[in-house]
């Protein structure tokens, strides 16, 4: 047996984390059932309290995030929305006002009032406003100027710069395209060559890196895949290679690592977990012709949803409910006002009579990691045991949890079966739109708003 000292750094670090995590699991499994139930409960009230507090005041140590304040807004607001809670109307108004002050005179949102506009903080601000919803929030976004800003950030290579003179990478591409898509201002000028740039970032491992040549990384893989779907070029990626890579990123702890041979981290519950949500949509809509998003809503074609106890039958529902914008060619269509009048036939029975799929990752194991290892009982979630909670990890652990709970469903809107939700059913979070990571209802409202205006 090798002595501890002859292990490499990778091995040592990994063993230490495994010990901590398995200690937690061992303790858990030795608890009486009632205590186990408690440990698996999502501490909703405490999380909301932690989140709301952050919205109203942050300590001096947060000065290192002074150029990221729209991000803090998004992490907090999105988490609260996932928990199906609401923010005081006064706080909502204050948020809309604050973000308006972050909006640049020439478009886009900066990290704080008076700073330069930046694609990432633009993404965060727009997602925050979409999450708040309502006329006031949505109309506060100056779309014309934002479009100009996006055009200015577009680089000849096809990628986008984060800010004037800033770096080009896959994340910049995603934030730009995501915002453009959400606000219905995506066009050929913005799209051209983005696909080529992202393609050049898919590595030999199958994942996607931040820049050409760098290491395959969960965050960038999510960004790259989502962008390719949004611009309708996902088929040029090596999807089977990508899938092969991401399935092996889930560790024995149940959580995901960001890169091969690195440590588990709760935030990858979304960055990696969300990839599965995206892949699921791609695979499920492959046989179906796309319909524009608006037509899927209230078309009166929904069949009643029934839950049976047999897991083969699962739920019957509007299997063809493509109102989630999942089809790869739909995204281009839906925002073309000319094609919105086209009603294309769809086959409602495409998924052979059942609306359940087997997730490609271990959903319950990830939920177990999130609830037992990432969750802090007095509010907030974190990277791993031993690390401190923060709003970023709270956001992405909860986002990942939402993805997990719906990972058996084809139709993300339907209520999951109880066995899909680890812990009490009250742990159920709101469904998200995996391309943008905003709560689905808010996405729909924004879609309606930005399609009409």
């Amino acid at each position: 047996m090798e002595s501890f000292r002859s292990l490499t750094v990778t091995q040592r670090d990994q063993i230490l984390v495994e010990q901590q995590v398995f200690d937690i699991f061992k303790t858990f499994y030795n608890l009486p059932p009632s205590s186990q139930s408690f440990m698996l409960e999502l501490q909703r009230e405490n999380h909301v309290e932690y989140l709301t507090k952050g919205l109203t005041g942050l300590g001096p140590s947060f000065c290192v995030l002074d150029a990221n304040r729209p991000w803090i807004c998004y992490w907090i607001l999105h988490s609260i929305a996932l928990l199906d809670e609401f923010v005081d109307p006064e706080l909502e108004d204050n948020t809309i006002d604050f973000l308006s002050r972050c909006q640049g005179p020439n478009g886009g949102y900066a990290g704080g009032p008076g700073q330069m506009p930046h694609l990432a903080t633009t993404y965060a601000a727009v997602n925050s406003l979409v999450t708040l919803g309502g006329e006031k929030a949505l109309s506060s976004i100056n779309r014309e100027k934002l479009y100009m800003f996006l055009r200015q950030m577009k680089d000849a290579s096809g990628g986008f710069r984060m800010h004037d003179g800033g770096e080009i990478d896959v994340r910049a591409c995603y934030t730009a395209i995501s915002v453009a898509s959400l606000l219905n201002i995506l066009d050929d000028e913005l799209v051209q060559n983005v696909g080529n740039y992202i393609l050049s970032c898919q590595t030999y491992e199958g994942g996607i890196s931040g820049e050409p040549g760098s290491e395959a990384h969960g965050g960038y893989t999510f960004c790259g895949l989502a962008t390719m779907i949004l611009i309708n070029e996902v088929d040029s990626l090596d999807l089977s290679g990508l899938t092969d890579w991401v399935v092996f990123r889930q560790g024995v702890e149940g959580g995901f690592q960001g890169r091969t041979n690195k440590l588990v981290d709760g935030c990858y519950s979304f960055w990696q977990g969300g990839i599965f949500a995206l892949l699921k949509r791609l695979n499920s809509t492959k046989e179906v012709k796309p319909i524009p998003l608006g037509d899927g809503e209230g078309s009166g074609e929904e069949s009643p949803q029934t839950t049976t106890s047999s897991d083969a039958a699962g739920e019957e529902g509007l299997n063809g409910d493509l109102s989630l914008g999942g089809s790869h060619s739909e995204i281009g269509d839906q925002h073309n006002t000319s094609s919105q009048d086209n009603v294309i036939d769809i086959d409602h029975n495409h998924s052979k009579g059942h609306a359940n799929v087997e997730p490609l990752f271990n959903s319950l194991a990830l939920q177990q990691y999130i609830l037992l290892c990432s969750q802090e009982l007095n509010g907030g979630l974190r990277d791993k045991p031993g690390k401190s909670r923060d709003h970023y990890h709270t956001c992405y652990c909860l986002s990942g949890l939402s993805v997990c709970q719906r990972s058996w469903l084809e139709d993300e809107d339907s209520p999951p079966l109880p066995r899909a939700v680890l812990g009490p059913y009250s742990n159920l979070l709101e469904p998200i739109h995996p391309l943008y990571n905003v709560v689905l209802d808010r996405y729909r409202e924004a879609y309606e708003f930005f399609t009409k205006s």
Binding site: T8, G54, C63, D66, D164, E215
Partner: protein, 193 residues
């Protein structure tokens, strides 16, 4: 130009050289959300930075001010961007800039890496050896540092040196066969050369 001495956090309002500048407070509005309880030094530094930034003053004192602001928050990309503009306007000695960057090299921020790239690009081939060595130092502490590896690839691409990279990768893999960043570098070597 850019003084090597730390100005020790002395309040700007008490410094003679800043007397002509009216600090510009942040336009946070009456009821800001996610408000940060800035320490006095931070708030004051940023108030003066905002004033200089708005006036687009690209002077030696502006350069010193950006250094102060960067120390307080290396994540402020606006400050980094403005620093670049000031360096250009002053036709500053970029070797000195590299030294400055070296002293704050513990900052992993992307802004830092991006700014560093800009400096090295201008210095050209002469900066190569120094850069590659510095990155080796960073990687010796954190062998998988993502930004360091990206920067390393950029340096090799822009200034050459891929021939020696095989040895370096082998060395790292002898130390830790599981270092996936080193494996990735192997593969990148083939793609780039």
């Amino acid at each position: 130009m850019d003084s090597r001495e730390d100005d020790g956090g002395e309040p700007l309002s008490r410094m003679a050289e800043w007397r002509d500048v009216t600090p510009l407070p942040q336009d946070d509005g009456p009821n800001p959300v996610v408000p940060i309880a800035y320490k006095e030094e931070f708030r004051e530094t940023m108030d003066y930075f905002r004033a200089i930034y708005k006036a687009d003053e690209r002077s030696p004192r502006a350069l010193r001010l950006t250094r102060r602001a960067i120390h307080l928050n290396p994540g402020n990309y606006t400050v980094w961007h403005f620093r670049r503009l000031v360096l250009e306007a002053l036709n500053a000695d970029l070797d000195e800039e590299l030294d400055f960057l070296q002293r704050i090299a513990n900052s992993n921020s992307k802004n830092y890496q991006h700014h560093r790239r800009w400096v090295v690009e201008r210095l050209g081939a002469n900066a190569r050896a120094k850069e590659l060595n510095l990155i080796k130092k960073i990687l010796s502490i954190d062998a998988k540092n993502y930004h360091a590896w990206s920067h390393r690839q950029w340096v090799l691409q822009a200034l050459g040196g891929w021939e020696d990279e095989l040895d370096y990768c082998q060395q790292l893999l002898e130390e830790d066969i599981f270092n996936n960043s080193a494996w990735n570098q192997f593969s990148a070597r083939h793609d780039f050369t």
